[in-house]
Amino acid sequence: MSTAQEKVTANSDAGRLAGKYLTFALGREEYGLEILKVREIIGYMDITAVPRTPEYVRGVINLRGQVISVIDLRAKFGMESAARTDQTCIIVVEIQRNGRRLNTGIVVDRVSEVLNIGADKIEGPPEFGAAVRVEFILGMGKINDSVKILLDIDKVLSAEDAAAVAGAAEAAAVGAVGAAA
């Protein structure tokens, strides 16, 4: 594609992606979630572990009578786990799975703020780099001097993408049980 065409595509993509994002942090990296997908933010609470689930599934919690699963985003991205602080919270997002709406929680280190990111501030995902797999990224938002990685949360949490990771985690879990037996 010529640079002019690239610019046009980039612009229309950016136009589509412009809007409000909830920003949060995992370690030193800052991410953004489309605000429309955020149901609520709750302080960290005790999570009931569910056996034989992938590493990144922390377990389930009781949200006003609804049982929802909670994902450790760090684990999902292959980052090291971090100690819990009093800034750690759970963001409840509403994603689409199999044509149905599903509420899931994600554990993050720190929630920052809601930012209105204009089309001019959004660029396409980088070609390489990051512990984050590229298809999870909607784009990169540049605010002042920092860059927020805008996540496609449906893809991040979708079952298919996790399959490869899930297989490895399960094998490890089974191996641990077998060794203990």
Partner: protein, 740 residues
């Protein structure tokens, strides 16, 4: 162009119900105006009106009028007008003239019910169904291809019939009512089988078809109308005693009832998927035979025997279709309100149609209320237990919540009458087909079950009833030789017992032959040869539920392939029920199905392992004991066993399976729970028993997929989540981990 009319109709009704301060309603009107404008702007619409003189101009006028009205609505929403009421009235008259313009554009309405119905204002529409229209508005029904003109209206229904959007709520209501009419018609027909002169029944069947004919005519449903008319004519002759409803004539009416069910099901499916209704190919032949019957009843009566095989297949569809219709409507996510929960038989006491989605929502909410109340109760008691007034208030709240829960659960209950009735038909058709004489009767039809359970139990019951007639009941001569009356008896019983619903299927046939069952089981490798002596009678009976086992000497197309009982058992277990067998050779068999009264709540035994609590369904628990050292043993140093009352059962450590640090590693210090599921028993090692509680099951499968060993989650009284264990899954897990 059809779309324009549909949009206008909805616009008219929405405007009528919108008040100047009702923002959501105004927003709906605004959206409709936008859609209208968009529709008028499309090249296809312009092409459609181009042919007429001034057509394009008029379309442009429609577009402009829509835009102006849109802006007016906007200003009302944004409160930019000084007199909202006056502006609303302006909107109303603008919409009225829009409607006028569009009517003129469409020219003379050509058998298009929609336009006809809306000109006497959308009042009839609005009055009849304002809620459904409003619900339908945001739904995706507006999407999809703009339906072309209703051509099917004119031809004799041999073209796919397109259902108009405005008719959708009426169609769904028709489907639900037709089902009820057909049910009572079939009941009447079966009574006529015994007593062809029962005037009451003839009238009932006649009325059923007559009513269907009426509504079908109103909704322009040609095929359904023709069938209803033909059947009604035949029945009228019967009413006037010009013919007798026996043999072939009765069969043909039964066939018509089946065909009608098929047509209604097709209509329902088409309406849900926004598709045209495909014409039914077999209808023409049936109509022809009905005509012949009307002209010359005698000729039809004679051909009774031949038709019975067709009726058999029809019964399959008949038994299956109402199920499909019900399941489909239960699971429907379509725009218009789904069908209602039938509250009672046609006894005429007041009832209300409620969408099943709403009902399910209500029940979920009540479920959450129970949990919230329980949590609040605990917190209040621990914080201010001494305050009498507060405690009393909380007690009252608890009582009211429990009553509310019982009440809401009961709303989903329906009598099992309908399912039992269907069995009547199954018995009649199967027995005729294979030449056996069977007396069928049932009691307890008024016993109520959860709607979903009633649907799910239908197929298993059909299978078991067929089995009884096919394998259980002997042919008349064999019965006479055995000293029994030539006609066999098959009875169904339903009743409540200890929080369960019990359904019994009994026959006085030849009973289960233990020898034959064992033979087949050994031949299939299910039982190692030489083990027979160790098996109790119950163990042998349980074998009939194994896949692939059938003691039928020959396979008929009714049964004999050995796939049925296995599926029956699975279905019953999926409903968290159990099935028991009792039989005496030569005398008969009785199968007893026990089902829990509600699907979402179970009695659970709460156990603790380490700092985690789990729930084991009480139904699976036999007992719990503290084992003594001499009762424990290991096999090959890997599998642990425990001796319980003479039986050696495998022992599984929950803490190992779930990777939890337990309080006790030594089984003699811990507790073991003996569980039984699907005929297999095993021991689960836990730290302690916490208690017994009724818990609401929350599904985890949507978020976490199918988990082995865990059937769901439950919220305990203190708000924490406990996993509900699935015993068969646990056993599989344990066995797998031990062999690795």
């Amino acid at each position: 162009m059809q779309k324009l009319t549909a949009l206008t109709d909805r616009l008219v009704s929405s405007t009528l119900v919108a008040k100047s301060d009702d923002l959501p309603a105004l927003a709906a009107v605004h959206t409709l105006l936008q859609s209208l404008r968009g529709e008028a702007d499309r090249p296809e619409s312009r092409a459609a009106v181009e042919a007429e003189a001034g057509g394009a101009d008029r379309l442009g006028a429609v577009r402009d009028a829509a835009r102006t009205t849109e802006r007016l609505v906007e200003s009302i929403i944004l409160r930019e007008v000084s007199d909202a009421e006056a502006s609303m009235r302006q909107v109303e008259s603008a919409v009225a003239s829009l409607q006028q313009m569009i009517n003129e554009l469409m020219g003379a309405p050509e058998g298009q019910g929609a336009t006809q119905k809306s000109v006497p204002p959308g009042q009839t529409q609005a009055a009849a169904a304002p809620a459904p229209t409003a619900t339908a508005a945001p739904s995706p029904v507006t999407g999809g291809a703009a339906p072309a003109a209703t051509g099917a209206g004119s031809s004799a229904g041999d073209q796919p019939h397109r259902i108009e959007e405005a008719d959708l709520p009426l169609v769904f209501e028709f489907v639900a009512e037709a089902a009820t009419h057909l049910e009572s018609a079939e009941a009447g027909l079966l009574k006529l089988d015994e007593d062809p002169n029962d005037a009451e029944s003839i009238n009932a069947v006649f009325r059923g078809f007559h009513t269907i004919k009426g509504v079908a005519g109103f909704l322009n449903l040609k095929q359904i109308g023709s069938l209803a008319h033909a059947a009604e004519t035949l029945l009228d002759l019967a009413r006037k005693q010009k013919l007798s409803l026996t043999g072939g004539c009765l069969d043909i009416v039964l066939e018509s009832s089946d065909a009608m069910k098929r047509l209604i099901a097709a209509l329902d499916a088409a309406a849900k998927n926004n598709q045209p209704v495909p014409p039914d190919a077999s209808l023409a032949a049936l109509l022809e035979r009905l005509e012949r019957a009307i002209k010359d009843p005698q000729s039809v009566a004679a051909s009774a025997a031949k038709k019975s095989s067709e009726t058999e297949t029809a019964t399959e569809t008949a038994a299956a279709t109402p199920n499909t219709t019900n399941t489909a409507s239960a699971a429907s996510a379509a725009s218009a309100p789904a069908t209602a929960t039938p509250v009672s038989a046609a006894s005429g006491d007041g009832s209300v149609r409620v969408s099943t989605d709403r009902l399910d929502n209500l029940i979920n909410m009540v479920g959450e209320l129970v949990i919230a109340q329980s949590m609040a109760n605990q917190d209040v008691l621990s914080a201010a237990g001494g305050d009498h007034r507060l405690t009393r208030s909380m007690q009252r709240l608890g009582k009211i919540t429990r009553e509310l829960q019982d009440l809401s659960m009961s709303m989903r209950m329906v009598p099992i009458q309908g399912v039992f009735q269907k069995m009547s038909r199954v018995v009649r058709d199967v027995s005729r087909k294979i030449g056996k004489q069977v007396d069928f009767s049932f009691t307890g039809g008024e016993t109520e079950l959860d709607r979903n359970v009633v649907e799910a139990i239908g197929d298993p019951l059909v299978h078991m009833v067929r089995n009884s007639v096919d394998h259980g009941i002997e042919p008349p001569d064999a019965r006479i030789r055995a000293g029994k009356p030539p006609s066999g008896k098959v009875t169904l019983r339903a009743y409540h017992q200890a929080g369960n619903v019990v359904i019994e299927i009994a026959d006085d046939g030849r009973g289960l032959n233990k020898g034959k069952i064992l033979q087949k089981a050994i031949a299939n490798g299910l039982v190692p040869a030489g083990q027979e002596s160790q098996m109790s009678e119950q163990d042998v009976f349980k074998l009939i539920f194994a896949a692939g086992l059938s003691t039928a000497d020959k396979v008929t197309d009714v049964s004999g392939r050995g796939v049925g009982m296995d599926v029956v058992r699975k279905n019953v277990e999926a409903l968290r029920g159990r099935i028991e067998t009792a039989s005496v050779e030569g005398q008969g068999s009785t199968f007893t199905i026990r089902l829990p009264l509600t699907l979402a709540v179970i009695d659970g035994l709460i156990v603790r392992v380490g700092d985690q609590r789990y729930i084991i369904p009480i139904l699976s628990v036999e007992q719990s004991i503290r084992p003594r050292a001499q009762e424990l043993s290991t096999v090959q140093d890997r599998g642990e066993m425990c001796l319980i009352r003479g039986a050696v059962l495998p022992l599984f450590r929950l803490h190992k399976l779930f990777n939890v640090k337990p309080k006790h590693e030594d089984p003699t210090q811990a507790l073991i729970v003996i569980v039984e599921e699907g005929g297999r028993r095993c021991c689960l090692m836990i730290d302690e028993l916490v208690g017994q509680q009724q818990v609401v099951i929350k599904s985890l499968s949507e978020s976490l997929g199918q988990l082995k060993g865990v059937s769901g989650g439950a919220i305990l009284g203190d708000g924490s989540i406990s996993l509900i264990l699935d015993v068969p899954g646990l056993v599989q897990l344990a066995v797998k981990s031990e062999t690795e």
